[in-house]
């Protein structure tokens, strides 16, 4: 019994966040980016949100209710906050409203579209989180740095302070090469942070 309790306490801390591969992220980006422009527009994002809503709305009544929530991978805490009128179900408007807010937040350089790099960061932050310290709903550079430090620590599986191409398998290979400024085949924490920050600033 005691060992079971100890196992339960250790499990969440010991579980490493699993990251999708770069190919999967690029495939998802391409699926949403119907125009093939390498930029996900707000309209394309909405279309994808509609598809996700319909997939979760099993009984097709235009609401995601508690039963459907249980059968889905939607986070109950987020569901509660997205349910703005507190009727214990999500309308398509409430669902899309949150998804649009995610889009606007993930659009770090505020160009009204998501680049492959912003989409990659969004997938990363879904796992490691993001702290909106000034509560303005946007990712400021200081907040981005804080998230990247968290992400780096989560990705650095052997905790040696460097990311190999294997550890950073979620990352586009061209980005890995670009960020690796000293060409040693691995990314230090500074290279990782500076690389993403430079990409965001250059649009």
């Amino acid at each position: 019994m005691l060992s079971l309790i100890v196992l339960c306490l250790l499990a969440p801390a010991g579980r490493a966040a699993s990251f999708p591969s770069s190919a999967q992220i690029q495939q998802a980006f391409a699926a949403v980016n119907l125009s093939g422009s390498q930029r996900i527009t707000a309209k394309e994002w909405d279309q994808a949100s509609f598809a996700l809503f319909r997939a979760a709305d099993k009984n097709n009544d235009d609401f995601i209710d508690r039963d459907e929530l249980r059968d889905s991978n939607l986070a109950p805490d987020t569901f509660l906050r997205a349910d703005l009128n507190r009727d214990d179900k999500l309308s398509v408007a409430e669902f899309v409203d949150l998804r649009r807010a995610m889009f606007n937040t993930a659009d770090i350089d505020r160009t009204e579209y998501l680049t492959p790099s912003e989409f990659e960061l969004l997938i990363l932050m879904e796992r490691v989180g993001w702290q909106d310290t000034n509560q303005n709903g946007r990712i400021e550079l200081s907040e981005l740095t804080a998230s990247l430090i968290q992400a780096f620590d989560a990705i650095d599986a052997d905790h040696d302070g460097f990311l190999t191409a294997g550890e950073a398998g979620y990352m586009r290979s061209e980005a890995f090469q670009l960020f690796d400024t000293n060409r040693d085949g691995k990314l230090s924490r500074d290279e990782f942070i500076l690389g993403y920050r430079t990409e965001m600033l250059s649009g």
């Binding site: 992220i25 699926a31 509609f50 235009d62 997205a82 899309v96 409203d97 490691v128």
Partner: protein, 92 residues
Amino acid sequence: MKHQLSLALFSAIVLVAASRPMLAAAPEADARSKAVVAALQAVSPDSLGGRFGLAVATVRSNERAPSRGATALQAANDTDHRAYAAWKRSSK
């Protein structure tokens, strides 16, 4: 008579040719939407954005009530419902 028959045949061919892409469009749209869901859920199992979505929703729920009136909210909801209904019709 022969001319009328040719014209009728030509019209029928044109009609069939024109309707085929329209008939094929709906299943294509449905397949595309399923592909989008599969591709997105492979990288993002929680469609509400995991830990990122939770942070966004928290900020959103704090700012929402005082900043937007009930009428504006209802209008936005109606617009989204109409857009979703139109999307569903086009992808059935």
